[in-house]
Symmetry: C2
Subunit: 393 residues, 2 copies
């Protein structure tokens, strides 16, 4: 008998995937321009020009044996130094190459971190709503996932969280800006959250690690500030990916930053290296590592996302939808006008609107709208959104 | 407490790494040209020109949103089709895109395959000598590693293997051409091995999966033929990487081919997809996937390896070393003239020869010599090899 867990994971088609496949059929039937597909979280803007230029320059000017050669397990030293220097400069937080482990993207950053920290039977807490793969990653590392429900405004409900943290809590995953809500945890909430974690550490005599999953850090709008968590809480590991900031989702490049203030830092970093070995993740893609070094200050032009956000948010509010105001990422979370968000998403299909029920994100009664699409898709979809809400009036 | 297993893996510096670090110190002291470092298995030849040309062409002619975008979890359909067609053409073995799962290189191919197949308590057999990370990968998937010692000529000892296969045997890893010996399993041995596995499957009423770890398939010399295992044994998964054939070790691109003859193929492939999700490996690096599609028939010019092999092998035999004749890969396995290969490698350092004791590969009393180095390194090292063996005469 093969692994039934892996078989189950492989067979279970994700809700998002099913909606996307439905969209493909619909696009074939009525034309792509008539289907308003808000189901996928794929960046819709190009990588900045510097990225392409850096790749061309590396290909033209670097010895291929070194360009495509193995780096050391945690990554090339010069790349890790450059990233550490940037953390110091941007966030005023101490960092050196010895704190950075290069990874094949965000998922790898999370699986490596969780496997480094978790012993079988530990608990990992997530703040709902949350990216559903957290459950897969945490359970595969041997942990039990504990879901902490949000406040009505989707911020962290610390009164609830207080009851869910136990002596078995090994880590909490914090994802801000958030998928699926687009919410950003404000500084006051972050301070209160970190105070609570410190209190629990003292109460139980344990270490509780905060895993900051931050692929959307650079995608924020207006005057929104995203607190840099290592400055608020010592036992922090930052999981980063360049998927969104450089619009390179398929290139699988990111890193883990083990804050210097993590207790037993040397051991925790060693465990990260060990987990990388065990999962098969040593040496992130070499040329992409060098591209990051050359493009450390580059950023994709996210103006298109902000325009989409404003257009969509303003219209939905005007039509009478209840919407969590998105501060970052490229998601908008709206309250389903009926209790069953799945039923609402089915009705939306009549108007060629493809939306994702919040249930699989631990946000029942809500719907995720991914606005990383062409502006024309937003504009053309607005009459559909208006007709849809009228059904409920 | 963090994971002590991962901490142990991260802290334990590999023997090879220690030798390499020693080499770095020595190079600084006496000059790189005076140190004969045969410790690392890093390709020393460049990627073929087609690879660089393919990358330049993709960067110049493809929309960056699609070039660097997510592919589907198992990889881009066109890439998987191209690989499947190549398997059909080269090996006369049925294959379609539905049998191919793109991975971030050889280690990922192995960890994903093992996690897909293994339940806790299963046994995974390896044929010694073997790549030491097999132990890490198998144990992390929940298996116990069972080591089957070789014949004197380093071929598989089927009489021994016969006794080591039990009802708990879930898989056997076969690595031919082999790291660390450079040996290639001949057809007669392969047939006998597969016969034995079939016999055991029938006897126990179990499925025993053969995991063919084949990153060195294209690196063979003279008229050596490497049997394509899916043509000999039904329950085969081929783990492939382009690290060596295209000299792209740092780019982390490879695949798993689940033979169509694997029992319950659909379920096994689904479990591979599930394990990819759980380990954080969905969607291999996107641009490199497209490079493989464009360079499916390209091959690095391995003439340099063959020249090195001949030069080194002939000289060592002439000096009186006992050497396993290398048929493939870029390794040569020689018998230590004293029982303790570690002590022999220490003596070798006096002559600035950096060799790796076979102990960590499950080949005690032998030494691995990696000849993926400059030809001049081989030529200049020969007097040292000659002096070293004279110490034992």
């Amino acid at each position: 008998m093969i692994s039934q867990t892996m078989l189950g994971l492989g067979k279970k088609s994700s809700v998002i995937r099913e909606i996307f496949e439905y969209g493909n059929r619909r696009r074939a039937e009525i034309g792509a321009e008539n289907v308003y597909d808000f189901s996928l979280g794929n960046p819709s803007i190009p990588a900045p020009k510097q990225v392409t230029e850096a790749m061309l320059s590396l290909l033209e000017n670097t010895d291929p044996v070194s360009l495509h050669g193995y780096t050391s397990g945690p990554g090339a030293l010069s790349v890790r130094s450059t990233i550490a220097d940037s953390i110091v400069k941007r966030f005023g937080c101490a960092a050196t190459a010895a704190d950075i482990y290069m990874t094949c993207g965000a998922a790898a950053s999370l699986t490596v971190s969780l496997n480094a920290l978790v012993n079988t039977g530990d608990e990992v807490v997530v703040l709902a709503p949350f990216f559903p793969e957290y459950r897969v990653f945490a359970e595969n590392a041997g942990a039990t996932l504990v879901v902490s429900p949000p406040r009505d405004d989707m911020g962290p409900d610390l009164a609830v969280l207080d009851k869910l943290i136990t002596p078995k809590t090994k880590a909490i995953i914090v994802n801000s800006p958030n998928n699926p809500t687009g919410a950003v945890i404000e500084e006051a909430d972050m301070v209160a959250l970190c105070d609570l974690l410190r209190l629990k550490q003292t109460e139980y005599g344990t270490d509780i690690y905060l895993i900051a999953d931050e692929p959307y850090r650079e995608l924020v709008y207006g005057d929104t500030e995203v607190p840099y968590i290592p400055n608020y809480y010592d036992n922090t590991l930052v999981c980063y990916s360049y998927s969104k900031s450089l619009s390179l989702p398929g290139e699988r490049i990111g890193y883990i930053f083990v804050s210097q203030k993590v207790k037993d830092h040397t051991d925790v970093f060693a465990a990260v290296c060990g987990a990388g070995r065990a999962l098969g993740f040593v040496c992130a893609p070499s040329m992409m590592q060098l591209v990051i070094e050359k493009c450390i200050d580059a950023k994709a032009d996210i103006a298109a996302y902000e325009k989409n956000r404003n257009l969509l948010y303003d219209a939905l509010v005007e039509y009478g939808y209840e919407v969590i105001e998105p501060k970052g990422a490229f998601y908008l979370f709206l309250k389903s006008p009926e209790a069953d968000a799945g039923a609402f998403c089915e009705k939306a299909k009549k108007y060629e609107l493809l939306l994702v029920p919040g249930d699989s994100f631990g946000g029942p009664g809500y719907v995720r709208v991914s606005y990383c699409v062409a502006e024309s898709t937003i504009r053309n979809s607005l009459p559909s959104f208006e007709k849809l809400i009228k059904e409920y009036k």
